[in-house]
Symmetry: C2
Subunit: 450 residues, 2 copies
């Protein structure tokens, strides 16, 4: 019999159906057996009585057994209705059970509180928990909305290469790869140079993919492998065009997640994100002035925000501006990469911005340098060799439009939507200094919170 | 003035508009200047006359200059209409030109025939050619259709990690990465193990991303970094459920590409792909029998198809079965990876298949082993150590449904849709034994065709 998804059972009362799924909880009371079955869409209680040969199979079922169960969908009696669970008003009166695969007992109760190491050591099975499935359903829907919105705005997706000859941005720690013929390649820390090249081809481009950072920090924010959502757009007047585009993009993501993941956000206990028509925009200096005025702490001379400042400005924007998102603009030239466009009216500052969301920097962006001579000179000023950027520089030699864009971390965005404290919980298979699936040494990965 | 896309000009005859784009070809005849402007959507001819100060700017324009041009959209006179180009019946009567960025002359004519090394050495600018933009527009639309169709079929997208502790499949050549604390990691050759784990979480999953193969072959089919489209689906009865899903998926891609890229396919001189309601399905043995019968060459004892056999079967299917796609099934157990499900009725063969498209293997797939004990024993039989697969094996210990799936190369599929002979032409920034953007040594990358 063709499979019915469990979410569709409520509309099939009185019908005989076959469901596929995993056994969740089982309970045998004399000649009656109860067991919950979950599939990717929902779960339902199965009941066996008066059928000795089926009861025998049901009695042998254990959690995580994979089954095909046939039965008649029945309304529950009034006194058995359970408002607190999905399908709490129906049950499946089971007529046959086929065990598709057996399972050994789980090493912990499926709803146990477990620590991060246990969660990650047992990832293939902890991912099946309702909490984890909710997180990665949200992650999936973020990407659906990201792509759909950008395509509607004339963007073309492209595949950025991950094996690169050098490090785009200098600075960041880079993983080295043994390439052919003794050549040492690197793993890309960003698709930055490629998306700028592509802005010269399709004007508006985006890429989604892994980037790699050999950062030695083990914190709740750091990963060795990050899924980045990048975009770049040509023919802008300055960074404010990018801010406008990103505002529309984020609002589209928020709306889509709110719509498609209402159940998941409720389960995770997360309020819908506040994303007004325009987000607060403040310069770094203005942000630091707010902090000084509100807290008395004077950081107005600082060239960047510290994590505590990001948290404060987000709380402030949430409380006073009705927004969970804040743009902070005009970071100093000295703190930004060579390709960042300088503000011509105050050349010590850049046409750059960060987007903060619920206390965390979510995305970095701005306008880029588009004049060839200026770019070469900026590369030199960072102590880098323009010769190593010849491939990239071709795009600028031969006419690139004014352009800008952003990079946004998928795991951070997911973590903030889902209210999880550690970005690793929003990463399916997180890699860090201590772990590639399993721990890389016998040490525990206990984190020093930085 | 707000930018108008060039594709929308035909509907704005008589109106004053501003377009943004690149200068293509310029021509000055006395007091009249003509120049073509292209943007991501189309191109149009601009005409300057009777405005000395504008004529002066127009006369200084060179190919690839980036401009904002304002003017009035005019119908061309009958004798000036050119049916052979886009917007051949209109022109822009230019009132002002702003140069947004200058450009040096291109190192070759924009429509010159150039060899593969020149094409790739100059990738940032050769990608702007109409031929290259057509290829990567098709690539983008393949992915749009791939994702849209799978989401409509209940699939969840996930991010497969690229830094891995070991090599999933044994066999293939693997790039090594210096990880932390002296640990040596690898670059994933496939997301296989992770998508099987994820089939235990969301039942139907897909991933798009780079995979890496340190293959020393320099051929028209080989790359070091490949964009793979992977999917895995649970609760199947056998590999034929996967074949049915893939047939629907490919038909959705073909239809979407035909619809959205009609102009590009025409420019590339490619016929629409033949994708009937069901594709021909033959066992490897049946395929070899056809070859024997049709050509007299007896390869019926062979365990695999050679490239020439794939080409022959595709020609045969195109001619006699009205399909550009052919499934070949039941490859020998000895030729397939450890996770491939054995056909219980003929255990020397597997429930596996390849999908051929226009002469090339496009995707590999099949049902997977889902019984824990069998999987451990299959790993051992391949001479691999089950201990190294403990993380993956958790999914099987604790109840994984019967499942199967495919991996499909995006560049190969793009190449065959676009009729380009070398898969590198369908890769934005191809990496191979000789090249990471630029050549990694002074040798030319002349290919030995294997």
């Amino acid at each position: 019999m063709e499979r019915t998804l469990i979410k569709d059972l409520a509309a099939k009362v009185g019908e005989t159906v076959t469901i596929n799924g995993w056994v969740d909880v089982t309970r045998v009371q004399g000649k009656v057996a109860f067991f919950d079955v979950r599939d990717r869409t929902s779960f339902v209680q199965g009941v066996v009585f008066g059928k000795p040969e089926v009861l025998e199979v049901a009695t042998a079922l254990k959690p995580e057994y994979v089954v095909a169960v046939t039965g008649v969908v029945q309304k529950r009696q009034e006194k058995s209705i359970n408002d607190k669970v999905e399908n709490g008003d129906i049950e499946l009166e089971v007529t046959s059970i086929e065990v598709l695969n057996e399972a050994q007992p789980l090493p912990f109760a499926s709803d146990a509180e477990i620590n991060l190491d246990t969660l990650l050591d047992n990832r293939p099975i902890t991912l099946r928990r309702k909490h984890e499935r909710a997180i990665f359903k949200v992650q999936h829907e973020i990407l659906v909305a990201y792509r759909t919105h950008l395509v509607s705005q004339g963007f073309t997706e492209f595949q950025a290469p991950k094996l690169v000859g050098g490090d785009a941005e200098g600075g960041a720690e880079v993983f080295k790869v043994k390439y052919f013929k003794g050549v040492e390649a690197s793993l890309a820390t960003s698709p930055q140079l490629y998306k700028q090249i592509m802005a010269g081809v399709f004007e508006r481009v985006f890429a989604v993919g892994p980037t790699f950072r050999a950062e030695k920090s083990a914190t709740s924010r750091h990963l060795s492998e990050i899924s980045m959502m990048d975009l770049e757009m040509a023919f802008i007047k300055d960074h404010t065009d990018v801010i406008t585009l990103v505002t529309g993009l984020i609002r589209a993501i928020v709306e889509h997640v709110n719509t498609t993941c209402a159940k998941e956000l409720e389960y995770l206990g997360q309020p819908l994100a506040l994303a007004p028509k325009t987000f607060p925009v403040m310069t770094l200096r203005e942000g630091l002035e707010i902090i000084k005025k509100e807290t008395g702490v004077d950081k107005t001379g600082e060239p960047d925000l510290e994590p505590e400042d990001e948290r404060f400005l987000c709380e402030y924007a949430n409380k006073h501006m009705g927004s969970d998102f804040v743009f902070v603009t005009h970071y100093p030239t000295s703190k930004r990469p060579f390709y960042t466009h300088i503000d011509p009216e105050q050349p010590e500052l850049t046409r750059s911005f960060d987007l903060l969301f619920r206390g965390l920097e979510m995305c970095s962006g701005g306008q880029r340098v588009h004049k060839y001579d200026e770019l070469v000179s900026r590369i030199e000023k960072k102590g880098l060799d323009p010769e190593r950027f010849q491939f990239y520089l071709q795009a600028f030699k031969h006419g690139i439009p004014p352009h800008g864009g952003i990079g946004m971390g998928l795991e951070r965005l997911t973590a903030k939507f889902c209210g999880v404290a550690n970005v690793k919980e929003a990463t399916l298979f997180p890699r860090d200094i201590n772990r590639i699936d399993t721990l890389t040494s016998k040490e525990s990965s206990d984190e020093a919170e930085l």
